[in-house]
């Protein structure tokens, strides 16, 4: 008789872990996967609110064909890219710089830290409202103080395409720089102090210490921050919706706002779904490229 022990076919406890993650899976399926699948499904139909989905005519790839040739889609895509470029570049630079500045336990640093993260706690809808009034041409503080301090003529901030674009970029930077700041400072403070000291002994000056030691060591944190901001750029619409509604013209209409307008203003639900599929593809593509180039999950930072 052989003494080799047999792996049992069925272990009674084997399903326990699955039972525990079941609720999470159900919620994910219902809340995330279902809408995505429905978006794909709808993009092949011409459906309006009020009509039965079953009666909606099947249009095959018509929406996608139309989308590729639609100058409006290209226009808002370009607005989104410009918006993403300016906001993310400035937010990353400013957030990292502030974190490096306030990392040392200098007097008052903790007060500054608290003040800096306040914008993060304001809901986007409220942010939109606050800044809409601040930028208001007649009653806004911005025009008032520009006039009082610098003698600048009142500007129609939200009525001029270029100024409106500047206004939403500015607002986004105001709200999201703290986000970069807070995760970078957490990363910096978790750096082993002996490694930083070793670089001091090796003769690194302030500038070299930052660019050759500290930032490379928190690279995975920077990548995650970048990724989250990128996804947000394609996702967020509340602030623009409230401040400018996408206007004037389409100068502040981001892709997600455009989808919203198509779906609920012009009732083109099928076409809006097709554009959503484009958005999903773009976000998926960008995330994949970033994660392949620098996988934050892979690089354990043990020393």
């Amino acid at each position: 008789m052989s003494e080799i022990s047999q792996k049992p076919r069925f272990e009674p406890g084997a399903f326990t872990p699955y039972a525990f993650i079941m609720p999470a899976i159900v919620v994910m399926m219902g809340g995330l996967l279902y809408p995505v699948v429905m978006a794909f499904y709808l993009s092949f139909y011409d459906w309006e609110i009020g009509r039965k989905l079953a009666d909606a005519p099947f249009v095959s790839f018509d929406h996608f064909v139309r989308m590729v040739a639609d100058p409006q889609v290209w226009e808002v895509l370009w607005v989104t890219i410009r918006f993403g470029f300016w906001t993310i570049t400035i937010e990353m630079t400013l957030g990292v710089a502030l974190a490096l500045l306030l990392e040392k336990p200098i007097r008052g640093a903790s007060i500054f830290r608290t003040i800096f993260i306040l914008p993060l706690m304001v809901s986007p809808v409220v942010v939109g409202l606050i800044w809409r009034y601040l930028f208001d041409a007649r009653i806004g503080w911005i025009n008032y103080y520009l006039g009082v301090w610098f003698g600048i003529e009142p500007q129609v901030w939200l009525g001029d395409p270029q100024l409106a674009f500047f206004a939403i970029v500015f607002t986004d930077i105001w709200q999201w720089t703290p986000f970069i700041f807070i995760i970078v400072i957490a990363g910096l403070q978790a750096l082993p102090s002996e490694v930083v000291e070793a670089s001091t002994i090796d003769g690194a000056n302030w500038y070299q210490q930052i660019f050759l030691v500290k930032l490379p060591m928190i690279k995975s944190i920077l990548v995650i921050a970048l990724l989250m901001r990128l996804i947000d750029v394609f996702r967020g619409l509340e602030v623009m919706l409230i401040m400018t509604g996408g206007g004037p013209g389409r100068s502040t209409e981001l892709l997600s706002l455009h989808i919203y307008n198509r779906a609920f203003d012009t009732q083109q639900l099928g076409y809006a779904s097709a554009i959503s599929v484009l958005l999903i593809a773009i976000v998926f593509g960008i995330s994949t490229v970033i994660l392949t180039m620098a996988n934050p999950m892979k690089s354990k930072s043990d020393v």
Binding site: P192, E194, V195, E197, A198, S199, T200, I201, D202, G203, A204, N205, Q208, L212, V213, P216, M217, K219, K300, S301, D302, V303
Partner: protein
Amino acid sequence: MTGVVLKNVSKSYGTVNIIPDLNLQIEEGEFVVFVGPSGCGKSTTLRMIAGLEKVTGGQIFIAGRDVTWERPKARDIAMVFQSYALYPHMNVADNMSFALRLAGTDKSEIASRVKLAADMLELTPYLDRKPRDLSGGQRQRVAMGRSIVRDAYCFLFDEPLSNLDAKLRASMRTELALLHKKLDRTMIYVTHDQIEAMTMADRIVIMKDGVVQQVGSPKDVYNTPVNTFVATFIGSPSMTLVPAELHEEAGQLKVKGQGFELPLPDRLKQQAQASGAKVVTLGLRPEHFSAEARTQDFAPVELTVKVAEYIGSSQYLAAELGGASLTAAVEVGPEADLLSDGRYYFDTSRLYLFDPETGAAL
């Protein structure tokens, strides 16, 4: 005035005075080990020499230069940290060459120095690896390598071996001693392990609560400890301290404890008489007990053995001599069973006397 000199150095954190007043002269090329219990200020002293910590008062000279307020970079020092502190995002070669690259040394020079250090530390096969793909011992050697390529005037080590297992630690100890021979540089080494201190040091600096207790060669600090702290800190197992009295009997000076009596060696007679002390603290090192009398100085003692531990070449006895508890390390042959109560001998030429009030050696 070359080497490393600390002059009236003091250090306080706020109102807490960690190091009151430290004076020390370390010769060029010397291997000096700071040893002492946890929290006694060894790392703080080393970090002040490195320039990572500012002094509260006093002066520090390296190679004759007053570097008290110089930045670490300008002190011509290299340092190995307890946690190794390797740059996780650089491979081994880049870790080792970082300082040279910052200093703008030319490429061929860097390559040859890294190669030399890697050969010396047997790291050549790992030059392309990241630190996280190395074992603890290999990381440790990279940390050494990083300081070696610098060719600094003075090398500082803060417990570099404490994260290694016992065997690796012993072999690294030997390698470090060899390294010191080859490089012939001033080295200052911090540890709380007295074996490390004894095996590697030219001179040992024994500290307690920020105060230097004794500076001397391993031989000095073992054979002529200046006080009970040094006497019990150096040596393993520790010296036993027993309260005793001096008295004279038929012209013979003897030291008398509770229930036992030992003759005083010639070495101590004069001091004992000069000090006029009656009450003393007697110090007995475990390794000076023996199963047989080897010389005339060996005096018989009756030990009651509570526990005997088998070590190999010897046995450690937790025993009682009269009313005093002590440890004895008795050499045994291969056939010996666990030792038990009976007559043992103590080498009285090597007993120690201390002032019971101050702890200072007589």
